[in-house]
Amino acid sequence: MSAISSSAAGSGERGLVRRLFSRPTSAAGLAVLAIILIAAVLAPWITPYAPGKLSIAHRLQAPGIAHLFGTDDFGRDVLSRMIFAGRLSLTVGFSVVVLSSLIGVLLGLLAGYFRKLDRPLSRLIDAMMAFPDILLAIALVAALGASAANVVIALGIVYAPRLARVVRASTLVIRELPYVEAAKALGVPTPVILVRHVLRNVASPLLVQGTFIFANAILAEAGLSFLGVGVSPDVPTWGTMISLGRQYLDQAPWIMFFPGGAIVLTVLSLQLVGDGMRDLLDPRLAKDI
């Protein structure tokens, strides 16, 4: 039985990717994301220069043949740094999705499945959502200390309530379905019901919401690093690169232009894929927004 359902789930995932590729907008998003991801993974082999290689003689050079995206104030190649920066920005974004999913799924399942816990947990989720994302993240990073790991923890806490809300809503519906009732009647232990029946069915909305959180986390990390309250300014992320480029806005606008473009491309691609998945996985949710 489980073999049948897992193979069905497997073909469903393959089907999802195929169907995403059949939509021009999602296909474009997936293709761009794939290129960005491959570039980040292969960074040490494909970048024309080492990201930290100083060359004062070539400082603030405009984009040209030798340096496609120009150089910064230390003569470092902007393109090479941008590709390396993508590694950290994507890693932070993905880690935030994983952490917020872990917290969000736990809170959402508990609130949605156990009636007694619903009210207090829902109030907690509401209260956490009253804080604007950047503001709460700034406060948490200020308390925990500025580092990439703490940015992940802060943003994980910030976005967990959004996922919790989605999981709770789906769990409330699934809890009442006949097969869950049947499993309960058969004496299947509650943790097994939660993981095997409920969690499996909230996977679709979770996947969609996770994609949007990935996009938001990349924007938020860049914002925090730009403000100087996120990752250390010496570490290249897209946000720290823009922050550095700001000082040379009038002489060398390319320093901040290209990393910003990388953020826009990545976030836009994630949104296109997220939109496509939402339409395909749950047409009732699509509502054309």
């Binding site: 109030r123 200020a142 009038d250 606008p253 953020i263 509502k287």
Partner: protein
């Protein structure tokens, strides 16, 4: 009706109580001694002890929490460690640029989003619709601080139409101050317009398929009147919700935008407070912004209650 208002008030009070607790906890999760962190590495043991005493950090946690809540009920958000003035005063001094920035951004976002969203829904599937939807998604993907830098580069550095930063200095008149808000408001407004556009479009699509719109058309009413008088009026309620919530979210966007444009608002106060570890200011700002969000939510719910008798809380 009264029962709904009462239930909602109780709900708001509970959420605010949790918000206060979360804000209280945030400072206490600081690894090590918050007083030592706030004063920096050069502080003496006596300085640290004095600050611990002033902030009541030596008391047991429940006592600290009780004192904190009592102070809040008296309207006391504490005293800024660095500025040495009450947090309420620090926030009030910086409120003007943030208030007008939020207001102008919201205005720009709404002026872009409402017509684009309505026309997009009306011409669903057309080239205009596709372009508007793509542009809205593009706008939502742009970091507002990056857009701000691009605007500075073009309109301030290259064309010289605006100053690159600041709020016009202490003696600046009202119009000069507002002139400094044009670029930041555009940066924030354009980015925020994306969400409102998408919601307006979705809300209009819902309404345009309704029976009363078909009835209005079958009576021979002109298209413009059908769309504006019947459909748009009814689509506006959920859109107002999004506009209200966007207003609260704009405060968050203002934090980054004010830093880009060197505006002396609440956002830049928060950033400098974080860099100086001025926890009372961070706590106060968190509480005020979250409180505003909860209040706006409450007002929106009350508006729903007033316009739609079917709504119950």
């Amino acid at each position: 009706m009264l029962r709904s208002v009462f239930n909602r008030l109780i709900g708001m009070a509970i959420v605010m109580a949790i918000v206060v607790t979360v804000v209280f906890i945030i400072v206490r999760i600081t690894p090590g001694d918050p007083a030592a962190v706030m004063l920096g590495p050069e502080a003496t043991a006596a300085d640290i002890a004095a600050l611990r005493d002033r902030l009541g950090l030596d008391d047991p946690l429940p006592v600290q929490f009780g004192a904190y809540v009592l102070d809040l009920l008296r309207g006391d958000l504490g005293t800024s460690i660095f500025l040495n003035i009450p947090v309420t005063e620090a926030l009030a001094q910086r409120a003007e640029p943030t208030f007008f920035l939020t207001l102008f951004s919201l205005l720009i976002a709404t002026v872009i989003a409402l017509p684009v969203g309505v026309l997009s829904a009306y011409w669903r599937g057309s080239i205009f619709d596709q372009m508007a939807t793509t542009l809205a998604m593009f706008a939502a993907s742009v970091p507002s601080f990056w857009l701000g830098l691009l605007l500075i580069q073009f309109f301030a550095v290259r064309l010289g139409w605006f100053d690159t930063s600041g709020y016009g200095g202490p003696g600046a008149g009202f119009f000069e101050r507002m002139h400094h808000l044009v670029l930041p408001a555009v940066a924030l407004g354009v980015v925020s317009s994306a969400l409102i556009t998408r919601f307006t479009r979705a809300s209009m699509l819902d309404v345009l398929g309704d029976d009363y719109v078909r009835t209005a058309r079958s009576k021979g009413m002109g298209e413009a009147r059908v769309v504006i008088k019947h459909a748009f009026k009814n689509a506006l309620i959920p859109v107002l919700t999004v506009i209200g919530l966007t207003a609260a979210l704009l405060v968050s966007g203002a934090i980054v935008t004010e830093t880009v444009f060197g505006l002396p608002g609440v956002g830049s106060l928060i950033v400098s407070a974080v860099l100086r570890r001025d926890y009372p200011v961070i706590q106060g700002a968190l509480l005020v912004v979250a409180g505003l969000y909860v209040l706006i939510n409450f007002v929106i719910d009350m508006l729903y209650l007033a316009v739609d008798p079917r709504v119950r809380f």
